[in-house]
Symmetry: C2
Subunit: 469 residues, 2 copies
């Protein structure tokens, strides 16, 4: 792969320097090391140079140069990705958009805003909240990740249950093509049937088609009030049935998160679980939101009745913010809890919602068949569970081979259940060899044609999404 690109020679470096200035170009060893990693396992591909453009025009100038000289360019947000999408696997330039960090405008009356790709997601959320507004996408890395990565991977989090993933909020994009041309997709309107929807094609394209420099986003009014229910279940199937029934009955929860037995046990090792959750087979965390607190209380009581009829234990209910945070902690401690136990690999499985219990069983079987432990938790309302396969005490080589075999077995089962390879983490580098499990040859060939239409020279984020042939 690397061989098709030109290395960055001193003349190229000088031209990059002329575009980016002192602050915008780094070739020192610490920078190369840092920008050679993301949060996907222990992978490391240091770039030759790190470009830190401060304006979309600088991005465009870098891409024009890269096109002229055939330099590989790997775009990057905060490097919090979990599928290796930002790893500069072909060397060359790592182009980080972190300095494109302006919120250009927030229009309260119109419930919209425009932000550059280097804005931290959580920062944007707090800025719009100050005006009573709400930007729902809430990946776990919200306090550090950038919009750039969220747009590249169509990121989501617990609230996508009610509010959808990042793409639902994107009205229009400003982006730089591999050729260096600046495009503007979509419009600043809530509906748009004007030409091809390049906006929705670019969202989720993992930085392989264009470098997004800014996004115009739809916002919502911030719901006035929330309520959290944590529901224990003595049986996995009862929890899965409850997920289905809660949606069928029209309760429209803001979040509906599941943790199965092993996930609860793991969290119990790093914090004191509320007594009702000890030794349970599963728990659901349901958040309701709305304008009127009493309506939420009535809805919570109706949900409690419903789940009781399905065999659930007594729900814990929290109305005030501190108590809600305390209940959320059980769910949000899981990442720390898994890391506390062992090195792990996270599979971002997603199935039709009705197949949740089967998914957990398939994960346990795939792990057990290869002598591993599986911990399952995540966004049950979306059928999207993170399956963590744990290394435990295995030596490295054995772990690698067992992990890969278990993961392939798991994803084959996921496909059989009507699911696919990623709900919110993307394919990137780490999942690309599995892609043919989910996508048939003519559809995959068409995706390659689309890639060529945007990037005829193949210089942008090479080596990603498509399996090596």
């Amino acid at each position: 792969m690397t061989s098709t690109f030109h290395p960055i020679d001193p003349a190229a470096l000088e031209r990059l320097h002329a575009i980016l200035g002192e602050e915008g170009l780094r070739t020192d060893e610490p920078a190369r090391q840092r920008y050679g990693r993301d949060e996907t396992e222990d992978l490391h591909f240091p770039p030759q140079a790190v470009a830190l453009p401060a304006t979309p025009d600088q991005v465009a100038a870098v891409m024009r140069l890269a096109s002229e000289l055939r330099l590989a360019v790997t775009p990057r947000g905060a490097g919090t990705g979990l599928s290796g999408g930002a790893l500069p696997v072909a060397g060359g330039i790592c182009l980080s958009v972190e300095r494109l960090d302006k919120i250009r405008w927030i229009d309260r009356r119109d419930l919209s805003c425009e932000a550059e790709a280097g804005v931290i997601t959580g920062h944007l959320q707090r800025q719009v909240e100050e005006q009573g507004l709400f930007y729902p996408p809430d990946p776990a890395s919200g306090d550090t990740c950038l919009l750039a990565g969220n747009l590249a991977e169509d990121s989501a989090g617990p609230h996508s249950c009610k509010y959808g993933t990042t793409r639902r909020y994107v009205l229009s994009l400003e982006a730089v093509l591999p050729s260096g041309e600046l495009i503007r997709t979509g419009a600043r309107t809530r509906k748009d049937a004007t030409g091809y929807n390049l906006t929705q094609l670019l969202v989720g394209s993992e930085g392989t088609l264009a470098i997004i420099t800014a996004a115009t986003l739809r916002l919502l009014p911030k719901p006035a009030t929330t309520l959290v229910l944590v529901i224990p279940f003595p049986a996995l199937d009862a929890a899965a049935a409850a997920v289905e029934e809660i949606f069928l009955a029209g309760f429209d929860p803001a979040t509906c998160e599941l943790m199965e037995a092993e996930a609860l046990r793991a969290v119990g090792e790093v914090m004191v679980l509320p007594p009702g959750l000890v030794d349970q087979e599963a728990m659901l965390l349901v958040e309701l939101d709305g304008e009127v607190a009493d309506e939420l209380l009535e809805r919570a009581a109706a949900i409690a009745d419903l789940v009781e009829s399905l065999g659930a234990g007594e729900p814990l209910v929290a109305q005030d913010a501190a108590e809600q945070r305390r209940l959320w902690e059980v769910r949000s401690k899981i990442g720390e809890a898994v890391k506390h136990r062992s090195v792990y690999k996270e599979a971002d499985t997603v199935v039709p919602r009705k197949a949740l219990a089967d998914l957990v069983r398939a994960a346990r079987r795939a792990a057990a068949d290869h002598g591993l432990t599986a911990i399952c938790y995540g966004h049950a309302g979306d059928g999207n569970l993170h399956v963590n396969l744990l290394r435990g005490e295995l030596p490295l080589e054995e772990w690698a081979s067992r992990r890969d075999a278990a993961e392939e077995q798991l994803f084959r089962a996921v496909i059989d259940l009507g699911g696919t390879l990623s709900g919110e983490h993307g394919i990137g580098w780490s999942q690309k060899q599995l892609l043919p499990l989910a996508i048939d040859p003519p559809t995959l060939a068409l995706m390659r044609q689309v890639k060529k239409a945007f990037d005829p020279l193949g210089i942008l984020n090479p080596g990603k999404i498509f399996p090596d042939s």
Copy 2:
């Protein structure tokens, strides 16, 4: 345009006949006349042959033949389109998907279904409603239009205000490429970050990239109860302000429809208006939906208070179904009322919601500057108003030139207001020369590259979307 395609000679016709059988191929004059029109003004482009495939495999076989012989193919749903997307402007084959009319499955537990592209939208809605489910997209032509056209144009209607347009419900597509290959995009899951989102690119691509043969759709539980408020306003600006405030306050209406003074007068010519609406400058029709009737009543009372503070008259409120239908009639009679007055051209304008009043004023000015009358109404909650320009007593040629000049003036104003060329009707044939107003040259060039990636021979729905150069 026609010159680059081969005509359908007797040998080609014989091969089409072998694929499609007696029932699947028509070349008689009535068929050619009928399939040469849609509902876009008085345009007429009869195809040489009408293909009526009964299976996706037959669609694929027709496209393989068309590729081999370079025959132009124009796909068609029910022909209810309003931008000429289904007109066979290059002659050749009109390929109607009307016989692909199976609902393949409805999965109540999973809140999803799969339907072929020839299913009538309203039929699908009734079938899922029988299971307590809800498919929200509701174009005015719902009782006759096909999913095919809704997918091609990303159709919508009043309920897109709360529920979004067709694309929000599309999980996966089965489609035939111009080459005749069958592809399957997306997955049957509520989240999917697996490869490029071809699903969302195909939705809204107006039949120019592939022929959609089936769609897997997300469904919702049917809301238990609805309530309708009709609110009269003595001033347009007050109505526009009310739209903004209703959303900012978090009322999340299912629909929020506007009719301005001329639209109310026109409807008053074909039915007896409720007394409160006579001589008003605008009315809003707000539908609320939810699970608990009392909650809707409280919300309606709060909305009434809010709009009163902005200068609205006394709202009419309807809880029972018959009374709701009666209020909806004022809005739904507008199409008939405009036709009753005169021949007209409908511009599908869309702007940021806050620019609604300015949009109405711009429409009135564009009409008046060319001696025409404008009638404005539609989906205020989405900033999407249908501006009807009326011919009145003008002779044909003068009407044509004044209409075109007024429309261009209107769309230039729409763009200045941050809007674009179509909210839900598409660009098709009738708006394509305006496209450069909304889309800059590099973005348009990229769209042409995308078209080439799907359709290198240019045989599928030629002459649409892109302006003649």
